[in-house]
Amino acid sequence: MFRIALKMLFGDRGKYLGIITGIALASILMIQQPGILISIFTTMYSSITDIGLPDIWVMDPKVQYIDDSKPLLDTQLYRVRGVKGVEWAVPLYKGSQRVRMDNGETVNCSMLGLDDASLIGGPAIMIQGKLSDLHQPDAVIVDETGAKGRLARPSVTPGGKSTPLQIGDSLEINEKRAVVVGIARATKTFQSQPIIYTTYTRAKNFALSERKLLSYILVKAKADESPQTVARRITKETGMAARTADEFKSMSLWYIIENTSIITNFGFVVLVGFIVGAAVTGQIFYNFTLDNLRYFGVFKAMGATDRMLRWMILLQALLVGGVGFGIGAGLVATFAAATKDSSDLTLKLNWQLLTGSGLAVLLIVLLAALISVRKVLKLEPAEVFK
């Protein structure tokens, strides 16, 4: 009877497509908006994610999130190195610098100054050049998105195509010359600024006007110590805030959640998607059942049990739910794949989001099926003679 149920569904092509479209649209809303939200959240702590080697980030106690760095004295680095359980500790400069373009315009960039010796905190993926090339004079590495986007060489002709930055190109940062020695892949930042990597010492030169330049101290805990324990010890002994990478990510995320209405706004759209999906799908599916009520009555008269009818309707609902969700998720995934290299905010999909939205669609089709099942089960089989 399940094949019969499916043939009944496919046979009414208009309603079938209507239900599928309703679920696909609901799925798109319920996946796309949280997908953007995830993308925003990811950019919130992209620097922490990209700098994967250290276990602990040490910072001024007033720091609230990753881009809110408050400079420390360079001597703090030595205090941290002296704490028991610290394998190594290196400085990190994180700040914003202005790059002057050939046409006179300036571009705000995020600059990361890495420990001169170890270059810890550098990009994990180099597209062109090597991380060690940062040891060359005036060397900087630029992230791929920035090199192709805001830092690309403007065309000499108005309206012409700009040329991506390449190795050997020079930049002017705070009236100082920098030479591009590499192009790296990095996760976009919340401000979507180009990222420039250089050594800690050179970063201090680029940012001469600032007295204190040590943004963070990156720490690796010894193998026999847990990062949490070492972090608590650093805090206790130095008075600075020391947080594990996960704690720092979480803190950065919660700062945005608590200080903006981002969750409320995105959540509202997701809720609208769910309600619209449930209403449209429920309505069309119910109409489909009403159109077939006479035939369900015939099945009942002919000996179809309530259980059999329930499963037939449930199968129809699950099938339209699966197909609709597949189309919706597929469209969003295609869009996400097509725009993943864009310098603008892109979509990020993960299994949690797809599972969550899939469950929401399941709930929608189950609600639709429930209403239809009720109608069919209440139907008197004797109605078929009327």
Binding site: R3, I4, R294, V298, M302, G303, D306, F385
Partner: protein, 233 residues
């Protein structure tokens, strides 16, 4: 063996009403009726006399208020809801006035439905449906949709569907009212020749006097009562 057990259908003192209070309508007012094995009984009478209500009670798709309805020795009221549904699926075939064929299914798939309800696998059910469609003269039209068939052909599909699972009782509600005279008689020929045998009985509700001659007995109903039962010669 008691008399009710040898009957195909035994109805004793059946009453049925719809609605409550002033809106209450007494559809059946104490029906006593017997249908013998191998018999074709027609229920005739004016509209609203209770024919459809009676056939619904006999087919086990409507509960009577009072009285006894026994099918092949089985009092349907003694069965639970699910048992009655299963009993109906195995023992009763239905032919409806409006055919009630599923428009999105082929003729063979429509015919196969009672077998599928009874748990037969699809391929076997379709194979058996093909045989039944050949029996009703629709060989070569097995894959046609109902919309591609004439009214007479659709009713023959419906007859094949009613017989495909070898039910012991077939109930037909106005099987010829949607058909012209010639087609109606041809459909009745099919019903008479294929459906009636010593193990199977037919109850046909009709007001089409042109097919009365196909009946073994005719029960005349009026105002919820059987006025008379006459044997057809």
């Amino acid at each position: 063996m008691s008399e009710t057990e040898t009957m195909a259908v035994y109805c004793g003192g059946i009453t049925k009403s719809y609605g409550t209070g002033e809106a209450r309508v007494q559809a059946l007012r104490g029906i006593d009726l017997e249908v013998h094995p191998g018999e074709l009984l027609m229920l005739v009478g004016p509209s609203g006399c209770g024919k459809t209500t009676l056939i619904s009670v006999i087919a086990g798709i409507l509960d009577q208020d009072d009285g006894e309805c026994v099918l092949f020795g089985q009092d349907l009221k003694q069965l639970s809801h699910n048992q009655r549904v299963v009993y109906r699926g195995r023992n009763i075939g239905f032919v409806f006035q409006a055919f009630n064929l599923i428009p999105t299914l082929s003729a063979a798939e429509n015919v196969a439905i009672p077998l599928l309800i009874n748990g037969m696998p699809m391929d076997k059910a379709i194979s058996r449906a093909f045989e039944c469609l050949r029996d009703v003269g629709l060989e070569g039209r097995e894959n046609a949709l109902p919309s591609q068939l004439s009214g007479g052909q659709q009713q023959r599909v419906a007859i094949a569907r009613a017989l495909v699972h070898n039910p012991r009782l077939v109930v037909c509600d106005e099987p010829t009212s949607a058909l012209d005279h010639e087609t109606g008689r041809r459909v009745m020929d099919v019903i008479k020749n294929l459906a009636v045998n010593s193990d199977r009985s037919l109850v046909i509700v009709t007001h089409d006097a042109r097919i009365f001659d196909f009946a073994d007995r005719i029960a005349h109903m009026d105002d919820g009562r059987i006025e008379k039962v006459e044997r057809n010669n």
